[in-house]
């Protein structure tokens, strides 16, 4: 029944396709034969030990890292060295980083409006309207005119989410968004992400938050040593893992 619900919720088309994708750092083979398809409105959680290539995978999707073999197709655009393709993909892809990476020399509101104005070419007033509504959505409208350095970690990460959303992307990539946060701040960020998932955003989330994966994910991907070891629904994954490596990993963290 749950599977049926999902079928109706998810779109027909794959918005992200990785086909036989390989990446090397110099001689080191980081990503091995990755095949991945993400449908519209799907929430994919990627888990795995550190160094397994999770972050590299999603950084390849918006071309922060370059892959050497295979294809990545995002929203119908194939990622090549063509700058126009890359910027088109980046415009449709929002990214949230572990270290927030807010621009410290700009106020919160300027952080959110900067790319809107220079990439989307929205007039200032419109951009600020969008920014305020997003700040409302992530729950910190009162911080609009502060500098990032004056906010707590959780607030900064929520601004970072708002900044990415302001570009109205089709896909959101989360690269361990809660790893740099104090425990009591993790919840406020996860709440925002859950709300986002419910609203139908396509998301790929690299995280160690197993509860988030259990509650929100449509699919969970387990990676180790640069390849996808096991893929499944959350209940499959947390109740009945198949691969030995997966079992070992889950037994260690749960």
């Amino acid at each position: 029944m749950v599977a049926q619900e999902q079928e109706t919720r998810l779109g027909e088309n794959a918005v992200i396709e990785c086909i036989n994708m390989n990446k090397w750092y110099g001689e080191f083979h980081v990503l091995k034969d990755i095949d991945l398809e993400v449908k519209e409105r799907e929430v994919v959680v990627v888990i795995g030990p550190s160094g397994s290539g999770k972050s590299t995978l999603i950084r390849c999707i918006n071309r922060l890292e370059e892959h050497q073999e295979g294809d990545i197709i995002v929203d119908g655009i194939r990622l090549t060295n063509d700058v126009r393709n890359i910027s088109a993909v980046r415009r449709e892809t929002g990214m949230v980083f572990q270290q927030f990476n807010l621009f410290p020399h700009l106020t919160v509101i300027d952080n959110i409006t900067l790319a809107q104005r220079h990439v989307r070419h929205r007039p200032k007033a419109e951009a600020e309207e969008i920014a305020f509504s997003l700040l409302e959505r992530v729950g910190i409208p009162e911080q609009a005119h502060k500098y990032p350095g004056q906010l707590s970690g959780g607030q900064q990460q929520r601004v970072a989410i708002a900044r990415a959303l302001a570009m109205q992307p089709k896909i959101m990539l989360f690269d361990e968004p809660t790893s740099a946060l104090d425990p009591e701040m993790i919840k406020e960020v996860l709440d925002v992400m859950k709300e986002l998932a419910v609203s139908g955003m396509t998301m790929i989330v690299v995280t160690h938050e197993m509860n988030f994966a259990r509650e929100v994910a449509d699919r969970v991907i387990f990676m180790d040593e640069g390849y996808i070891v096991e893929v499944g629904t959350p209940e499959h994954f947390f109740t009945n893992p198949q691969h030995d490596r997966t079992k070992l990993f889950l037994s260690q963290i749960l």
Binding site: N62, L64, R84, S87, A88, R90, R91, T93, G94, M95, F97, Q99, N101, L102, F103, P104, H105, L106, T107, L114, A115, R117, H118, V119, H121, P123, Y147, P148, G149, Q150, A160, R163, A164, M167
Partner: protein, 864 residues
């Protein structure tokens, strides 16, 4: 404090205090200054030793340096050459430009303080008021409390001699007087009480008077020398008598004895010249009217005091004649007086007091009998006169001014001529020969050296401070009227326009220059308008009919003006030859393609090329125009029009040259440096290695080499380059030099940023240029403010090296000052002065930079 109410009980552990203890001050050693001293200076044995040694060192240095400053330094040299130090040989008729420029800059700086660093305003205002008060009050106090030093002159028929120098008192000498000034003349009897008092003469003295002083000093020195030898002989004799051991060898005894015999001690000086035993008739004549002031005074003893009150400013002649020699003639006519001193008439006035020894000795053989009676007069109210050359509309004019008080106020242009209208210039109290001698007292230091300096700078300094305060007040006023944004905009525009105005004001106005600069500004406006339009139209291209019309009209006007400017510039540069053809070939297609091509291009692929791509060609074009404009200013129009006369860069000197080099060395090097830094981080190997090679080459060579390269090698590259004035070459060298260091500073800032910043910008879809200009560069530049200010300061001081390519910057002025006849050997004073100047400016700069880093105008510091 009493514990009477407490009942101590050994068995009972409970304790109740019924009295609250009074608050006491901490022990003396635990509070205030004593605590600080104990904790910081004497907290360990090693520290205590260091403290004592350091204090001794500081004390020793300060005592010696201040001793020299007060007793010996000839600070008159600085006061007299102040103009040279500030603007050098900048044409006086163009000085108003420098004044306007300075006042403008100071006003803007006052505004900048109010806008950005309000926290120092209070300190600055207090400091400024204190300085103005000191400048105004100290001269008033010293003038009322301390008399100017006495002037000692010799009168009489006899000549005085020391060594081979023979000097004859001059009976007539001209001086510059001030209205209502009182002049008193008397015998300096206190001075001739003994030889020692004469040798210790302190004050201004003429060369003959000084010869008398030197004679006394020499005689005392000879006596002292003989006494030392005699004392050694006596000690030897005593030692042999008492203990039988000689302290000197026989040879030494013989040498000592011979030396003592060889020393010829002259007769006592005062006796030889029968000093102050004659009668002297003193008269003062007003040169302008030919009138004799009051009755002549006859000085016969120390009780006689001749007093004159001067009626007006100008030249006066002091006649001091030995009555016994030529009494009858003197009062009626000066002809005979002059005839009796023929050497005075035949010499050029400037050489009178420095008659060459041969001329002097022949004169002495004929007319002078050494050893005649003389009188040494103590004169109050007469001071040395400085003759200076002032460049004006028609070459140099000679100007006389008093070298003590009223430096600028009493200036006489004509020579002093005697009243018989023979037009033979008289000898005057020239500074070269009538200097201050002896160890100065602190009072004389304040009165005769500090006071004139303060008098000279007080008006200008006060005006500067007033303008600074006006700027500050204007901003405060605007902010009180809720125009905070307006105030900071105005200030920014003001700051930006300072370098542009500086260039125009210093080099001079020219129609073509004005239009060319207008063209560059128009080009900038054009960029801005295109950018605004692009933003409004969503980069759908340049459509004149879309949107509001004002922006479009602006574009059209800007394009027309900038092309007109280009045409005029080409005309101008065409006179320079090769540069014009490059412009003709390169500019039109560049501008046309930039203006239309890129905007259309943007329209075609709205999602492919981002906004700043449109701006780039304009920036490049603007930079090229500026570069060619600067290098093309070869043709100088040497007219003397007050507005359009051009200043010759070879004549820039003093602080003006230093500022030109520093300001343009930094401002033009700034974009170049940023370009080099970005180039060095570029992915394109050619650009990367070219930039790296340039940076490393320049950083690997000393500034002197770069200067010499510009000076000597550049003309070899192209002969036309030899027309480029030295001043411009030095500026180009400075730019080339500081750009390399700027690049490394900026690169350091770029590398200090976490890579996440760039990644976040890219992930948001910003292009590489946008990420650099909007995200990384602003943060990098802010991070390196201390390094940039440090570079500015070190460049400011490094410019002193241009002295070696024949430019006269501050150091050059020191050199040229110390060879002026009046101020020979004042190099040390000059160096001290420019050190203070350099220090004050550098310190203010670094202070402001510290405040800027900590201030809230940027946010980097807020990030932990």
């Amino acid at each position: 404090m009493t514990n009477d109410n407490k009942t101590p009980n050994d068995n009972d552990m409970t304790y109740v205090s019924s009295l609250e203890p009074e608050a006491k001050p901490p022990p003396a050693l635990e509070a205030g200054v004593l605590k600080w001293i104990r904790e910081n200076l004497f907290n360990s044995v090693g520290n205590a030793i260091l403290t004592v040694l350091g204090a001794l060192l500081v004390f020793y240095t300060v005592v010696n340096v201040s001793g020299w400053t007060i007793q010996e330094g000839n600070w008159l040299a600085i006061t007299a050459n102040l103009r040279q130090y500030m603007v050098g040989s900048f044409a006086p008729q163009n000085m108003w430009r420098i004044q306007v420029l300075t006042l403008f800059s100071i006003t803007v700086m006052g505004m900048a303080v109010a806008v950005w660093i309000k926290q120092i305003a209070r300190t600055m205002i207090v400091t400024m008021v204190a300085i103005v008060l000191a400048l105004v009050l100290l001269p008033i106090v010293t003038k009322s409390l301390i008399e100017l030093p006495n002037f000692y002159m010799l009168a009489g028929q006899g000549a005085v001699q020391t060594g081979s120098a023979i000097e004859t008192p001059i009976p007539q000498v001209a001086f510059i007087g001030q209205a209502d000034e009182e002049i008193t003349i008397r015998f300096a009897d206190a001075l001739v009480e003994s030889e020692a008092t004469l040798a210790n003469l302190v004050g201004y003295s003429s060369i003959p008077a000084n010869t008398l002083r030197n004679a006394a000093r020499n005689r005392l020195a000879l006596i002292a020398e003989r006494d030392v030898l005699q004392a050694e002989l006596d000690a030897n004799a005593e030692s042999i008598r008492d203990r039988g051991i000689p302290t000197l060898t026989d040879a030494q005894i013989e040498a000592h004895t011979m030396a003592i015999e060889g020393v010829e001690i002259p007769d006592a000086i005062i006796e030889t010249y029968q000093v102050n035993s004659i009668s002297v008739l003193v008269t003062i004549v007003n040169v302008a009217t030919g009138e004799v002031l009051s009755e002549p005074f006859l000085l016969e003893s120390a009780d006689d005091v001749a007093t004159f009150t001067l009626p007006a400013d100008g030249w006066y002649i002091l006649e001091k004649v030995d009555v016994n020699a030529v009494m009858p003639e003197v009062v009626e006519t000066t002809d005979e007086t002059e005839a009796s001193t023929p050497e005075v008439n035949t010499q050029d006035i400037r050489n009178v007091s420095t008659i060459s020894p041969t001329a002097q000795s022949t004169a002495a053989e004929e007319t002078v009998n050494v050893g005649g009676s003389v009188a040494i007069l103590e004169v109050q109210g007469i001071y040395p006169v400085r003759l200076s050359n002032v460049s004006g509309d028609d070459g140099f004019t000679q100007v006389y001014s008093r070298a003590t008080d009223f430096f600028d106020e009493i200036v006489v242009e004509a020579n002093p001529v005697p009243r018989d209208e023979s037009n033979t210039p008289l000898p005057f109290v020239v500074l070269t020969s009538n200097q201050y001698r002896g160890e100065r007292s602190f009072g004389d230091f304040l009165r005769a050296y500090v006071t004139p300096f303060f008098d000279r700078i007080k008006v200008n300094t006060t005006i500067f401070f007033v303008f600074g305060l006006l700027g500050y007040g204007a901003v405060i006023l605007m902010e009180n009227n809720d125009n905070r944004k307006r105030a900071s905009q105005l200030t920014t525009y003001g700051l930006i326009s300072i370098p542009a105005l500086m260039w125009i004001f210093v080099t001079g106005f020219q129609i073509t220059t004005a239009v060319a600069i207008g063209g560059v500004i128009a080009l900038g406006l054009q960029c801005l308008a295109l950018y605004r339009m692009g933003q409004r139209n969503g980069w759908r291209g340049w459509r004149p009919n879309s949107g509001s019309t004002d922006g479009d009209m602006l574009v059209v006007i800007a394009i027309i003006v900038s092309y007109l400017a280009l045409i005029m510039m080409m005309e101008r540069i065409n006179g320079g030859g090769w540069a014009g053809s490059i412009v003709r070939l390169g500019f039109i297609p560049l501008i046309l393609s930039a203006a239309f091509g890129s905007s259309l291009n943007t329209a075609d692929s709205a999602d492919g090329i981002s906004g700043s791509a449109v701006l780039m060609p304009f920036w490049v074009a603007g930079l090229i125009i500026i570069a060619i404009f600067f290098s093309g200013v070869g043709v100088q129009d040497p007219n003397n029009d007050w507005l359009f006369s051009q200043s010759n860069p070879d004549n820039w000197s003093g602080l003006l040259l230093t500022m030109m080099l520093t300001v343009y060395g930094i401002i033009i090097a700034f974009p170049i440096g940023i370009g080099l830094a970005l180039g060095r981080r570029s992915d394109l190997p050619l650009i990367k290695y070219l930039c790296t090679a340039y940076i490393e080459l320049i950083r690997g060579s000393p500034f002197i080499t770069v200067l010499f390269f510009m000076k000597l090698l550049i003309p070899l590259i192209r002969p036309e380059f030899s027309n480029v004035p030295n001043g411009y070459r030095a500026i180009i060298a400075t730019i080339a030099f500081s750009a390399a260091y700027m690049a490394e500073n900026v690169r350091g800032g770029l590398q200090s940023l976490p890579p996440g910043q760039n990644e976040a910008a890219k992930a948001l879809g910003l292009s590489a240029w946008q990420a650099t200009l909007l995200i990384t560069l602003p943060q990098a530049l802010r991070a390196v403010i201390p390094a940039l200010v440090g570079q500015f300061i070190s460049l400011f001081k490094d410019t002193s090296l241009v002295t070696i390519i024949a430019l006269v910057d501050l150091t050059g002025v020191v050199n040229s000052m110390s060879v002026q006849p009046e101020f020979v050997g004042t190099r040390l004073e000059g160096l001290v002065f420019i050190s203070i100047l350099y220090f004050v400016i550098s310190y203010v700069l670094s202070y402001i930079s510290r405040l800027l880093e900590a201030s809230g105008s940027g946010a980097t510091r807020r990030l932990t």
